[in-house]
Structure formats: structure tokens, C-alpha cells
Symmetry: C2
Subunit: 205 residues, 2 copies
């Protein structure tokens, strides 16, 4: 009998964690990251405010758990279409899938980038593992384009290219620099990825 | 005598506007955009809270006035170095100057992108004129690389390339995707701009 108690406690703990992550996910997807308030989450999960900090280190951990789910959704979205055999076409397919995901899941996608850890605090290992796996997805077509590149250089290039595509997607969606209707942004992104693939392809000089 | 009154009022109005812009600029550069509070600005400018709305349409206009000053600073920073004759070198020089500006003026630089107008509200003409002039700076080396491109296509390409460079700079500075020491980000940006210039240069096939 006494042996069951820690197990029951652990179960209750897990249930509370899940309920709080679900409540946080709901807040982020409906109101955005700035709409996430600890008090509301506790109310939605039916616990005291302080109980949040019994099952999470802090609100940052809770947000990162939601963002981890978003990374998983993004990974599924990138894997949904069939990979193109031509690496330039595959980069284009991935970039288009990224833009489509950002449009479809705008609030939770924004939360990935709006959330910032305090300075000098590293993201936890479980988050980094998922992030790195996602980037592995981008490294495959780069391996075809640059067969001689070192894996570390390729990993970094994948992050650079993602950042560039992300810049085009985010400033385009916000129409920060000029009015950018959806069709214009689509064309901009296609042209940009084509240019990148051309810049990477071996030159026939 | 009576004719002087409107003039005096206009002068006082201008003084108050300047004082409020200066207070807002101070708040943005020290605490960031999220640290800007109307009450503090009124206190700093020595006016009633409601007086802000006699001289500005709303807080958005006041933020855009601060951002306009940031655009002017950025323009001066891009013009500070000597333009390189080679267009690929010139793109590299501009990208490096952009990264240096973002590092040096991080808070006011962030405010350019963190501030968002309500949906369906266009930025005012005086802001757009300054933004377009800044992009003209980027179009010059593109005109050398792509002499046959239509001006509208070149204007759009300048915005696409800026967005891409901005993505690399911002995600790199935030170390969003991987630990990114300053030297790594410098190398990443150089490699990226080199790739872009190679992708744009006419192919000798």
C-alpha cells in the first residue's frame, strides 16, 4: 500500500503537467504568447497558482514545452509532402511548406521566435535535440548540393539558410518593408530559394 | 498681437512634440519598446497624459517617429564606409555594416521590427518615404549585378535580400538555432552574402 503512494503522486504530477501544457498551448494558439498568464493557466488546469512551479521549473519551461509541440508539428508539415529528388526542388518544397505552416499556425509559429530565455540561460537539452532533428531535415538536400562539405559546415549552412528564409517569410507576412500580398510573398520566396540553389550549385566554368 | 497667438501655440506644440519624441527615444534605447509607457513620457516631457494625444495621433505615431530616427541613423551607418566598386563587395560591406549597427544599437534596432501597427493600418507616408530611400541604398549594387532587371523587380529583390540578411542577423544574435558567438555570426553572414552574390552573378556556362 505505501509503495503505491509515490506512484500515485507521480501520476497526478504527470496529469497536472499535461493539463498545464494543454492550457498554455490553448492560450498561445488563441491569444499568442503575450496572452499567456500563469493565473489563467492555473484556473484552466484547476490547480493553485503555486502548483505550476511544483511541476515546471518556471513559465519559460512551460512555454518551451508548447514550442516543442510546435516544432513537432512543423516537422510533420515538412515531412507531409513527398521529398523531391532534385535538391534545388527539395529546398523549394521545404521553404514553401515552411511558409504554409507559418500562415496556418501563425500564433504558435510566432511564439517559437517571440519567446526568449533570460540572457546566458541555454535552452534545455530536450529542446535542442528536437531542434537539431528538425534541421537534419534541411541538411539532406544540402548534402546532395555540397557532397564535399564537412558535416559541421553543412549543419551551420542549414541554420543560415533557414534564418534567411525565415527573414523573408516573417518580414513578408508582417509587410514590414512594403505591401506584400500573399502571391507576391510566394513569388519572392520561390525566387529567393532558386537564387540560393543557383549560388550553391557547382559552377560549370 | 492677436496674430502672434497661433504662432506661439504652434511653437509650443512643436516643442512638446520634440520633447515627447526625445523621451520616447530615451525609453526605447534604454528599456526597449516594451518599456515605453505613455505615463512616463508625459512625466518626462512635463505635460498631462492627455496632451500626448493633442500632438500625436496615438502612441503608434510616436513610436514610428522614434523608428524614423533609427532609420536615419542606420542610413548614416550604411553610408559611413566607402562604397566598394565591386558590387559583390559592396553587398558584403552593407551587410556587415547592418550587423554592426544591430549590435551597437540593439534596443532601437529591435524596436523597428517589434513595433507593429494594428492590422489593416498602413504606415504613414513620411515613414514609407524614408524606408524607400534606405532601400535605394541597396538597389545600387544590385543594378550593377543585374543591369537588365526592371526597377520594380530590383526594388523587390533589395527587400527580399534585406529580409534574408535580417533573418541571419536576428536569429544569430538571439542564438535561436544554435550557440552563435560573434565570430561565428560574422563568418555566417560573410558566407551567406557571398553565396547570394554568386547566385546573382551572370553564369559563364
Amino acid at each position: 500500500m505505501t509503495e503505491d503512494i509515490p506512484e500515485k503522486l507521480a501520476l497526478r504530477r504527470d496529469k497536472l503537467r499535461d493539463a498545464l501544457i494543454a492550457a498554455a498551448e490553448d492560450a498561445v494558439t488563441t491569444r499568442g504568447l503575450s496572452g499567456l498568464k500563469a493565473r489563467d493557466l492555473a484556473a484552466a488546469a484547476g490547480c493553485a497558482l503555486g502548483a505550476i512551479y511544483n511541476v515546471f521549473d518556471d513559465l519559460d519551461e512551460l512555454v518551451l514545452r508548447v514550442n516543442q509541440r510546435t516544432l513537432a508539428m512543423l516537422e510533420r508539415a515538412l515531412n507531409a509532402g513527398e521529398a523531391a529528388a532534385d535538391p534545388a526542388q527539395e529546398l523549394l518544397r521545404l521553404a514553401r511548406a515552411y511558409l504554409a505552416f507559418a500562415r496556418r499556425e501563425e500564433k504558435r509559429w510566432r511564439a517559437l521566435f517571440e519567446h526568449r530565455l533570460p540572457p546566458a540561460r541555454d535552452p534545455p537539452g530536450w529542446y535542442v535535440v528536437d531542434l537539431d532533428r528538425l534541421f537534419g531535415r534541411l541538411e539532406a538536400p544540402l548534402a546532395h548540393l555540397l557532397p564535399k562539405a564537412e558535416p559541421a559546415a553543412r549543419a551551420q549552412l542549414a541554420r543560415t539558410l533557414f534564418s534567411a528564409v525565415h527573414g523573408v517569410v516573417t518580414l513578408g507576412m508582417e509587410e514590414k518593408l512594403a505591401p506584400t500580398p500573399a502571391a507576391t510573398l510566394n513569388a519572392q520566396l520561390d525566387g529567393f530559394v532558386g537564387m540560393i540553389a543557383a549560388g550553391l550549385a557547382p559552377r560549370k566554368t
